[in-house]
Protein backbone atom coordinates (compact mmCIF):
# COMPACT_ATOMS: atom_id res chain seq x y z
CA UNK A 1 0.00 0.00 0.00
CA UNK A 2 2.69 2.43 1.12
CA UNK A 3 4.81 1.34 -1.84
CA UNK A 4 1.92 1.92 -4.25
CA UNK A 5 1.35 5.47 -3.01
CA UNK A 6 5.08 6.13 -3.23
CA UNK A 7 5.28 4.76 -6.78
CA UNK A 8 2.31 6.83 -7.93
CA UNK A 9 3.69 9.97 -6.36
CA UNK A 10 7.11 9.38 -7.87
CA UNK A 11 5.68 8.97 -11.34
CA UNK A 12 3.75 12.22 -11.29
CA UNK A 13 5.31 15.23 -12.88
CA UNK A 14 5.56 17.08 -9.55
CA UNK A 15 8.58 15.19 -8.44
CA UNK A 16 11.97 15.06 -9.99
CA UNK A 17 12.87 11.37 -10.42
CA UNK A 18 16.49 12.14 -9.56
CA UNK A 19 15.70 13.26 -6.03
CA UNK A 20 12.50 11.26 -5.56
CA UNK A 21 13.14 7.89 -7.22
CA UNK A 22 10.34 5.45 -7.90
CA UNK A 23 9.94 2.25 -5.91
CA UNK A 24 11.09 0.21 -8.87
CA UNK A 25 14.26 2.27 -9.16
CA UNK A 26 14.93 1.83 -5.43
CA UNK A 27 14.29 -1.91 -5.58
CA UNK A 28 16.54 -2.15 -8.61
CA UNK A 29 19.30 -0.31 -6.81
CA UNK A 30 18.74 -2.53 -3.79
CA UNK A 31 18.91 -5.70 -5.87
CA UNK A 32 22.06 -4.45 -7.56
CA UNK A 33 23.61 -3.58 -4.25
CA UNK A 34 22.84 -7.03 -2.88
CA UNK A 35 24.00 -8.78 -6.06
CA UNK A 36 27.31 -6.94 -6.17
CA UNK A 37 27.74 -7.59 -2.45
CA UNK A 38 28.42 -3.92 -1.80
CA UNK A 39 25.27 -3.29 0.21
CA UNK A 40 25.73 -6.50 2.20
CA UNK A 41 29.36 -5.67 2.88
CA UNK A 42 28.44 -2.17 4.12
CA UNK A 43 25.61 -3.50 6.26
CA UNK A 44 27.80 -6.22 7.73
CA UNK A 45 30.46 -3.68 8.59
CA UNK A 46 27.97 -1.41 10.39
CA UNK A 47 26.46 -4.40 12.17
CA UNK A 48 29.88 -5.45 13.38
CA UNK A 49 30.44 -2.01 14.91
CA UNK A 50 26.99 -2.15 16.51
CA UNK A 51 27.62 -5.63 17.85
CA UNK A 52 30.89 -4.56 19.48
CA UNK A 53 29.35 -1.42 20.93
CA UNK A 54 26.26 -3.25 22.18
CA UNK A 55 28.24 -6.05 23.79
CA UNK A 56 30.54 -3.68 25.67
CA UNK A 57 27.54 -1.55 26.72
CA UNK A 58 25.57 -4.59 27.87
CA UNK A 59 28.37 -5.81 30.13
CA UNK A 60 29.10 -2.31 31.43
CA UNK A 61 25.40 -1.65 32.08
CA UNK A 62 25.05 -4.90 34.03
CA UNK A 63 28.16 -4.01 36.03
CA UNK A 64 27.06 -0.43 36.77
CA UNK A 65 23.50 -1.45 37.64
CA UNK A 66 24.58 -4.26 39.95
CA UNK A 67 26.98 -1.94 41.72
CA UNK A 68 24.18 0.59 42.04
CA UNK A 69 21.84 -1.85 43.80
CA UNK A 70 24.56 -3.07 46.12
CA UNK A 71 25.67 0.29 47.50
CA UNK A 72 23.89 3.61 47.71
CA UNK A 73 27.20 5.39 47.11
CA UNK A 74 27.59 3.65 43.76
CA UNK A 75 23.94 4.36 43.01
CA UNK A 76 24.52 8.08 43.54
CA UNK A 77 27.47 8.08 41.19
CA UNK A 78 25.65 6.11 38.52
CA UNK A 79 22.50 8.25 38.66
CA UNK A 80 24.54 11.45 38.58
CA UNK A 81 26.58 10.23 35.61
CA UNK A 82 23.36 9.20 33.96
CA UNK A 83 21.68 12.57 34.36
CA UNK A 84 24.78 14.32 33.04
CA UNK A 85 25.53 12.02 30.12
CA UNK A 86 22.18 10.62 29.03
CA UNK A 87 20.90 13.87 27.45
CA UNK A 88 24.19 14.51 25.61
CA UNK A 89 23.74 13.60 21.94
CA UNK A 90 26.37 11.14 20.77
CA UNK A 91 27.20 13.28 17.76
CA UNK A 92 28.00 16.20 20.06
CA UNK A 93 30.74 14.07 21.54
CA UNK A 94 32.34 13.39 18.18
CA UNK A 95 35.03 16.07 18.48
CA UNK A 96 35.99 14.67 21.86
CA UNK A 97 35.95 11.14 20.50
CA UNK A 98 38.21 12.17 17.64
CA UNK A 99 40.63 13.79 20.08
CA UNK A 100 40.71 10.73 22.29
CA UNK A 101 40.48 7.86 19.85
CA UNK A 102 41.42 9.37 16.51
CA UNK A 103 39.40 9.00 13.34
CA UNK A 104 38.28 5.42 12.93
CA UNK A 105 36.43 2.48 14.39
CA UNK A 106 37.30 3.21 18.00
CA UNK A 107 35.60 6.58 17.83
CA UNK A 108 32.48 5.15 16.22
CA UNK A 109 32.27 2.42 18.84
CA UNK A 110 32.74 5.05 21.53
CA UNK A 111 29.79 7.01 20.15
CA UNK A 112 27.69 3.84 19.95
CA UNK A 113 28.50 2.93 23.54
CA UNK A 114 27.65 6.42 24.73
CA UNK A 115 24.29 6.36 22.94
CA UNK A 116 23.42 2.87 24.14
CA UNK A 117 24.81 2.63 27.64
CA UNK A 118 22.64 5.14 29.49
CA UNK A 119 19.20 4.03 28.32
CA UNK A 120 20.34 0.49 29.10
CA UNK A 121 21.51 1.45 32.58
CA UNK A 122 18.18 3.18 33.29
CA UNK A 123 16.24 0.07 32.24
CA UNK A 124 18.52 -2.38 34.01
CA UNK A 125 18.45 -0.41 37.25
CA UNK A 126 14.66 -0.26 37.14
CA UNK A 127 14.62 -4.00 36.56
CA UNK A 128 17.02 -4.72 39.40
CA UNK A 129 15.16 -2.44 41.79
CA UNK A 130 11.74 -3.92 41.09
CA UNK A 131 12.82 -7.48 41.87
CA UNK A 132 10.46 -8.68 44.61
CA UNK A 133 12.19 -8.86 47.98
CA UNK A 134 10.85 -12.39 48.31
CA UNK A 135 13.11 -13.56 45.42
CA UNK A 136 16.18 -12.16 47.14
CA UNK A 137 15.14 -13.74 50.45
CA UNK A 138 14.59 -17.12 48.83
CA UNK A 139 17.89 -16.82 46.99
CA UNK A 140 19.79 -16.10 50.20
CA UNK A 141 17.87 -18.81 52.03
CA UNK A 142 18.83 -21.56 49.58
CA UNK A 143 22.48 -20.57 49.91
CA UNK A 144 23.23 -18.13 47.07
CA UNK A 145 25.94 -15.57 47.76
CA UNK A 146 26.38 -12.25 45.91
CA UNK A 147 27.68 -13.53 42.55
CA UNK A 148 25.29 -16.47 42.65
CA UNK A 149 22.44 -14.12 43.50
CA UNK A 150 23.28 -11.94 40.52
CA UNK A 151 23.42 -14.86 38.13
CA UNK A 152 20.71 -17.05 39.67
CA UNK A 153 18.12 -14.51 40.75
CA UNK A 154 18.76 -10.88 39.81
CA UNK A 155 19.44 -11.35 36.10
CA UNK A 156 16.63 -13.82 35.33
CA UNK A 157 14.15 -11.96 37.53
CA UNK A 158 14.78 -8.72 35.68
CA UNK A 159 14.97 -10.27 32.22
CA UNK A 160 11.93 -8.35 30.89
CA UNK A 161 13.75 -5.10 31.69
CA UNK A 162 17.06 -6.41 30.36
CA UNK A 163 15.35 -7.26 27.08
CA UNK A 164 13.52 -3.96 26.73
CA UNK A 165 16.72 -2.11 27.58
CA UNK A 166 18.66 -4.06 24.99
CA UNK A 167 15.93 -3.39 22.40
CA UNK A 168 16.17 0.33 23.01
CA UNK A 169 19.95 0.01 22.94
CA UNK A 170 19.82 -1.76 19.61
CA UNK A 171 17.66 0.96 18.03
CA UNK A 172 19.89 3.68 19.46
CA UNK A 173 23.00 1.88 18.23
CA UNK A 174 21.67 1.72 14.67
CA UNK A 175 20.97 5.44 14.68
CA UNK A 176 24.26 6.47 16.16
CA UNK A 177 26.40 4.20 14.03
CA UNK A 178 24.86 5.58 10.84
CA UNK A 179 25.27 9.14 12.06
CA UNK A 180 28.86 8.63 13.15
CA UNK A 181 29.79 6.86 9.93
CA UNK A 182 28.43 9.71 7.85
CA UNK A 183 30.89 11.99 9.56
CA UNK A 184 33.87 9.66 9.63
CA UNK A 185 33.33 7.96 6.36
CA UNK A 186 35.87 5.45 5.24
CA UNK A 187 38.69 7.19 6.99
CA UNK A 188 41.86 5.53 8.19
CA UNK A 189 41.65 2.68 5.77
CA UNK A 190 38.37 1.16 6.95
CA UNK A 191 35.85 0.07 4.38
CA UNK A 192 33.10 2.30 5.74
CA UNK A 193 29.63 1.16 6.63
CA UNK A 194 26.07 1.97 5.63
CA UNK A 195 26.26 5.54 6.92
CA UNK A 196 29.23 6.25 4.71
CA UNK A 197 27.45 4.50 1.85
CA UNK A 198 24.44 6.78 2.26
CA UNK A 199 26.69 9.79 2.29
CA UNK A 200 28.61 8.68 -0.78
CA UNK A 201 25.56 7.77 -2.86
CA UNK A 202 24.08 11.18 -2.14
CA UNK A 203 27.41 12.79 -3.01
CA UNK A 204 27.47 10.92 -6.31
CA UNK A 205 23.80 11.77 -6.84
CA UNK A 206 22.81 8.10 -6.85
CA UNK A 207 19.64 8.84 -4.92
CA UNK A 208 18.13 5.40 -5.64
CA UNK A 209 21.23 4.00 -3.99
CA UNK A 210 20.66 6.23 -0.97
CA UNK A 211 17.12 4.94 -0.62
CA UNK A 212 18.31 1.37 -1.15
CA UNK A 213 20.63 1.82 1.82
CA UNK A 214 17.73 3.20 3.90
CA UNK A 215 15.73 0.14 2.84
CA UNK A 216 18.59 -2.07 4.04
CA UNK A 217 18.46 -0.32 7.45
CA UNK A 218 14.71 -0.90 7.66
CA UNK A 219 14.99 -4.56 6.66
CA UNK A 220 17.74 -5.31 9.15
CA UNK A 221 15.69 -3.53 11.84
CA UNK A 222 12.64 -5.67 11.12
CA UNK A 223 14.69 -8.88 10.96
CA UNK A 224 16.36 -8.21 14.30
CA UNK A 225 13.07 -7.26 15.93
CA UNK A 226 11.07 -10.16 14.50
CA UNK A 227 13.62 -12.95 14.38
CA UNK A 228 15.96 -12.14 17.23
CA UNK A 229 14.06 -10.27 19.94
CA UNK A 230 10.65 -11.84 19.37
CA UNK A 231 12.18 -15.31 19.42
CA UNK A 232 14.14 -14.62 22.58
CA UNK A 233 10.96 -13.34 24.21
CA UNK A 234 8.94 -16.32 23.04
CA UNK A 235 11.43 -18.71 24.60
CA UNK A 236 11.92 -16.79 27.82
CA UNK A 237 9.64 -14.15 29.31
CA UNK A 238 6.50 -15.16 27.38
CA UNK A 239 7.06 -18.85 28.15
CA UNK A 240 7.54 -17.98 31.81
CA UNK A 241 4.56 -15.63 32.04
CA UNK A 242 6.86 -12.76 32.96
CA UNK A 243 5.87 -10.15 30.37
CA UNK A 244 5.74 -6.59 31.65
Amino acid sequence: MLMLVWETLARTVFFNPTVFPSVTAILNAFAEGVASGLLIEKTAYSLLLIFNGLLISLLTAVLLSSMAIMSSFAENIVTTLNSILHPLPGIALLPVAILWFGIGEASIIFIVIHSVLWPMVVNFMTGFKTIPRIYMDVGKNIGLRPIGLLWGVILPASLPYLLSGTKIGWARAWRSVIAAEMVFGAASGTAGGLGWHIYMTRYLFDISGTFAALLAIIIVGILVEELLFNNIEKHTVIKWGMTL
Binding site: Y135, D137, I142, P156, G241
Partner: protein, 245 residues
Protein backbone atom coordinates in the same frame (compact mmCIF):
# COMPACT_ATOMS: atom_id res chain seq x y z
CA UNK B 1 16.81 -27.16 68.70
CA UNK B 2 15.80 -23.50 68.47
CA UNK B 3 16.45 -21.13 71.33
CA UNK B 4 15.28 -17.51 71.27
CA UNK B 5 16.67 -15.66 74.25
CA UNK B 6 15.72 -12.11 75.37
CA UNK B 7 15.29 -10.98 71.80
CA UNK B 8 14.61 -7.30 71.19
CA UNK B 9 14.12 -5.38 68.00
CA UNK B 10 13.66 -1.65 67.95
CA UNK B 11 14.18 1.35 65.73
CA UNK B 12 15.63 4.61 66.96
CA UNK B 13 13.35 7.49 66.13
CA UNK B 14 14.00 10.94 67.61
CA UNK B 15 15.97 9.49 70.49
CA UNK B 16 13.01 7.29 71.31
CA UNK B 17 13.19 3.58 70.85
CA UNK B 18 10.31 2.22 68.88
CA UNK B 19 9.95 -1.40 69.91
CA UNK B 20 8.87 -4.00 67.41
CA UNK B 21 9.76 -7.00 69.57
CA UNK B 22 10.37 -6.90 73.31
CA UNK B 23 12.08 -9.49 75.42
CA UNK B 24 11.02 -12.59 73.51
CA UNK B 25 12.27 -15.90 74.91
CA UNK B 26 11.15 -19.37 73.98
CA UNK B 27 12.49 -22.69 72.75
CA UNK B 28 11.32 -25.14 70.13
CA UNK B 29 12.20 -28.80 70.58
CA UNK B 30 13.16 -31.10 67.73
CA UNK B 31 10.10 -32.52 66.03
CA UNK B 32 7.79 -29.97 67.59
CA UNK B 33 5.11 -28.01 65.74
CA UNK B 34 4.89 -24.54 67.27
CA UNK B 35 2.60 -21.74 66.17
CA UNK B 36 3.28 -18.03 66.63
CA UNK B 37 -0.12 -16.43 67.05
CA UNK B 38 -0.89 -12.75 67.22
CA UNK B 39 -2.89 -9.94 65.65
CA UNK B 40 -1.70 -8.25 62.48
CA UNK B 41 1.22 -5.91 63.08
CA UNK B 42 2.31 -7.53 66.36
CA UNK B 43 5.72 -8.42 64.94
CA UNK B 44 5.28 -12.16 64.49
CA UNK B 45 6.51 -12.06 60.91
CA UNK B 46 9.43 -9.88 62.00
CA UNK B 47 10.26 -12.41 64.69
CA UNK B 48 10.22 -15.22 62.15
CA UNK B 49 12.41 -13.17 59.79
CA UNK B 50 14.88 -12.56 62.63
CA UNK B 51 15.06 -16.29 63.28
CA UNK B 52 15.45 -16.89 59.54
CA UNK B 53 18.36 -14.44 59.51
CA UNK B 54 16.69 -12.12 57.02
CA UNK B 55 16.51 -9.23 59.46
CA UNK B 56 18.90 -8.10 62.15
CA UNK B 57 17.67 -7.83 65.73
CA UNK B 58 18.75 -5.28 68.31
CA UNK B 59 19.54 -7.43 71.31
CA UNK B 60 19.31 -11.01 72.49
CA UNK B 61 20.23 -14.32 70.96
CA UNK B 62 18.86 -16.79 68.47
CA UNK B 63 20.49 -20.22 68.55
CA UNK B 64 19.87 -23.19 66.29
CA UNK B 65 21.37 -26.38 67.71
CA UNK B 66 23.61 -24.16 69.81
CA UNK B 67 24.89 -22.06 66.90
CA UNK B 68 24.03 -18.34 66.80
CA UNK B 69 22.05 -17.19 63.78
CA UNK B 70 24.06 -14.67 61.74
CA UNK B 71 22.22 -14.69 58.44
CA UNK B 72 19.98 -16.80 56.24
CA UNK B 73 20.96 -20.45 56.05
CA UNK B 74 19.78 -23.74 54.67
CA UNK B 75 19.29 -25.13 58.18
CA UNK B 76 16.29 -22.78 58.47
CA UNK B 77 14.13 -22.85 55.37
CA UNK B 78 11.37 -20.29 55.06
CA UNK B 79 8.04 -20.68 53.32
CA UNK B 80 6.49 -17.29 52.65
CA UNK B 81 2.93 -16.10 52.40
CA UNK B 82 3.19 -14.68 48.89
CA UNK B 83 2.34 -16.72 45.81
CA UNK B 84 5.32 -15.15 44.05
CA UNK B 85 8.04 -16.99 45.96
CA UNK B 86 8.71 -19.55 43.22
CA UNK B 87 11.20 -18.49 40.57
CA UNK B 88 8.94 -17.84 37.61
CA UNK B 89 11.68 -18.69 35.08
CA UNK B 90 12.02 -22.23 36.37
CA UNK B 91 9.62 -25.15 36.13
CA UNK B 92 8.23 -26.70 39.30
CA UNK B 93 10.87 -29.40 39.05
CA UNK B 94 13.71 -26.92 38.50
CA UNK B 95 12.51 -24.77 41.37
CA UNK B 96 12.78 -27.70 43.76
CA UNK B 97 16.01 -28.96 42.23
CA UNK B 98 17.79 -25.60 42.30
CA UNK B 99 18.60 -25.49 46.05
CA UNK B 100 20.16 -28.96 45.78
CA UNK B 101 22.17 -27.91 42.74
CA UNK B 102 23.52 -24.81 44.50
CA UNK B 103 24.51 -26.89 47.47
CA UNK B 104 26.53 -29.23 45.33
CA UNK B 105 24.45 -32.38 45.06
CA UNK B 106 25.11 -34.60 42.03
CA UNK B 107 22.41 -34.67 39.37
CA UNK B 108 21.36 -38.29 39.89
CA UNK B 109 21.01 -37.80 43.65
CA UNK B 110 19.01 -34.65 43.04
CA UNK B 111 16.50 -36.43 40.84
CA UNK B 112 15.32 -38.88 43.50
CA UNK B 113 15.01 -36.22 46.19
CA UNK B 114 13.09 -33.83 43.96
CA UNK B 115 10.63 -36.51 42.92
CA UNK B 116 10.24 -37.71 46.49
CA UNK B 117 9.27 -34.30 47.81
CA UNK B 118 7.16 -33.34 44.81
CA UNK B 119 5.23 -36.56 45.28
CA UNK B 120 4.90 -35.81 48.97
CA UNK B 121 3.17 -32.52 48.21
CA UNK B 122 1.14 -34.10 45.42
CA UNK B 123 2.74 -32.30 42.49
CA UNK B 124 4.35 -35.30 40.78
CA UNK B 125 2.23 -34.69 37.65
CA UNK B 126 3.10 -31.01 37.40
CA UNK B 127 6.90 -31.18 37.24
CA UNK B 128 7.12 -29.36 33.90
CA UNK B 129 4.68 -26.57 34.70
CA UNK B 130 5.83 -23.01 35.12
CA UNK B 131 4.66 -21.21 38.25
CA UNK B 132 2.23 -18.92 36.39
CA UNK B 133 0.37 -22.02 35.23
CA UNK B 134 -0.32 -23.17 38.80
CA UNK B 135 -3.09 -22.26 41.23
CA UNK B 136 -2.23 -20.52 44.47
CA UNK B 137 -2.48 -23.75 46.46
CA UNK B 138 -0.19 -25.57 44.05
CA UNK B 139 2.35 -22.76 44.25
CA UNK B 140 2.43 -23.07 48.03
CA UNK B 141 2.83 -26.84 47.75
CA UNK B 142 5.77 -26.36 45.41
CA UNK B 143 7.30 -23.81 47.77
CA UNK B 144 6.90 -26.30 50.62
CA UNK B 145 8.63 -29.00 48.57
CA UNK B 146 11.47 -26.60 47.78
CA UNK B 147 11.91 -25.84 51.48
CA UNK B 148 11.71 -29.50 52.50
CA UNK B 149 14.11 -30.81 49.89
CA UNK B 150 17.12 -29.43 51.76
CA UNK B 151 15.91 -31.26 54.87
CA UNK B 152 16.32 -28.21 57.12
CA UNK B 153 16.60 -28.46 60.88
CA UNK B 154 13.62 -26.21 61.23
CA UNK B 155 10.94 -25.11 58.80
CA UNK B 156 9.84 -21.49 59.17
CA UNK B 157 6.39 -20.85 57.77
CA UNK B 158 5.03 -17.32 57.47
CA UNK B 159 1.25 -17.60 57.03
CA UNK B 160 1.81 -19.79 53.97
CA UNK B 161 -1.91 -20.51 53.61
CA UNK B 162 -3.06 -16.98 54.42
CA UNK B 163 -3.98 -16.09 50.84
CA UNK B 164 -5.81 -19.32 50.05
CA UNK B 165 -9.53 -20.00 49.99
CA UNK B 166 -10.91 -21.85 53.02
CA UNK B 167 -11.27 -25.25 51.33
CA UNK B 168 -7.77 -25.28 49.91
CA UNK B 169 -6.42 -24.01 53.21
CA UNK B 170 -8.04 -26.89 55.12
CA UNK B 171 -6.70 -29.40 52.64
CA UNK B 172 -3.18 -28.01 52.83
CA UNK B 173 -3.31 -27.88 56.63
CA UNK B 174 -4.05 -31.58 56.89
CA UNK B 175 -1.43 -32.38 54.25
CA UNK B 176 1.13 -30.33 56.12
CA UNK B 177 0.38 -32.35 59.26
CA UNK B 178 0.83 -35.56 57.29
CA UNK B 179 4.16 -34.36 55.90
CA UNK B 180 5.21 -33.22 59.37
CA UNK B 181 4.66 -36.68 60.81
CA UNK B 182 6.27 -38.41 57.81
CA UNK B 183 9.40 -36.28 57.85
CA UNK B 184 9.59 -35.65 61.59
CA UNK B 185 10.32 -31.99 60.79
CA UNK B 186 10.44 -29.18 63.29
CA UNK B 187 8.06 -26.39 62.32
CA UNK B 188 7.60 -22.82 63.51
CA UNK B 189 4.42 -21.53 61.92
CA UNK B 190 3.20 -17.92 61.99
CA UNK B 191 -0.52 -17.29 61.80
CA UNK B 192 -3.18 -14.84 62.95
CA UNK B 193 -5.86 -17.49 62.61
CA UNK B 194 -6.75 -19.05 65.99
CA UNK B 195 -8.38 -22.08 64.41
CA UNK B 196 -5.34 -22.76 62.28
CA UNK B 197 -3.07 -22.53 65.32
CA UNK B 198 -5.21 -25.03 67.25
CA UNK B 199 -5.48 -27.46 64.32
CA UNK B 200 -1.75 -27.58 63.71
CA UNK B 201 0.34 -26.94 66.75
CA UNK B 202 1.78 -28.68 69.82
CA UNK B 203 2.24 -25.30 71.48
CA UNK B 204 1.01 -21.82 70.74
CA UNK B 205 3.21 -18.81 71.42
CA UNK B 206 1.07 -15.71 71.71
CA UNK B 207 2.37 -12.23 70.95
CA UNK B 208 0.64 -9.07 72.15
CA UNK B 209 0.00 -6.14 69.80
CA UNK B 210 3.02 -4.35 71.31
CA UNK B 211 5.38 -7.17 70.36
CA UNK B 212 5.70 -8.80 73.78
CA UNK B 213 5.39 -12.47 74.51
CA UNK B 214 2.00 -12.84 76.08
CA UNK B 215 1.71 -16.50 76.85
CA UNK B 216 2.79 -19.93 75.72
CA UNK B 217 -0.20 -22.24 75.59
CA UNK B 218 0.31 -25.99 75.31
CA UNK B 219 -2.07 -27.67 72.91
CA UNK B 220 -2.54 -31.34 73.72
CA UNK B 221 -5.80 -31.96 71.94
CA UNK B 222 -5.98 -35.38 70.38
CA UNK B 223 -5.06 -35.53 66.67
CA UNK B 224 -6.64 -35.43 64.14
CA UNK B 225 -8.32 -32.28 65.36
CA UNK B 226 -11.60 -30.85 64.25
CA UNK B 227 -13.41 -27.69 65.35
CA UNK B 228 -16.32 -29.81 66.70
CA UNK B 229 -14.26 -32.12 68.92
CA UNK B 230 -14.13 -31.76 72.67
CA UNK B 231 -11.75 -29.18 74.03
CA UNK B 232 -11.46 -27.30 70.74
CA UNK B 233 -13.99 -24.61 71.56
CA UNK B 234 -12.64 -24.10 75.07
CA UNK B 235 -9.11 -23.63 73.76
CA UNK B 236 -10.41 -21.30 71.06
CA UNK B 237 -12.27 -19.21 73.67
CA UNK B 238 -9.19 -19.08 75.85
CA UNK B 239 -6.91 -17.91 73.03
CA UNK B 240 -9.51 -15.48 71.75
CA UNK B 241 -9.95 -13.79 75.10
CA UNK B 242 -6.19 -13.50 75.47
CA UNK B 243 -5.79 -11.99 72.03
CA UNK B 244 -8.68 -9.61 72.43
CA UNK B 245 -7.51 -8.27 75.79
Amino acid sequence: MLVVDNLYKYFNTNELKKYVLQDISFTVKAGEFVCLLGPSGCGKTTLLRCIGGFEPFSAGKVLVTGQPVLGPGIDRMMVFQGFDQLFSWKTVYANVEYPLQINGLAKKDRHNLVLRYLTMVGLQDYTNYYPYQLSGGMKQRAALARALVLEPRILLMDEPFGNLDALTRNLLQSELLKIWSETASTILFVTHDIEEAILLSDRIIMLSPSGELKDIVPNQLERPRKPGKSGFVELWEHLYSQLGA
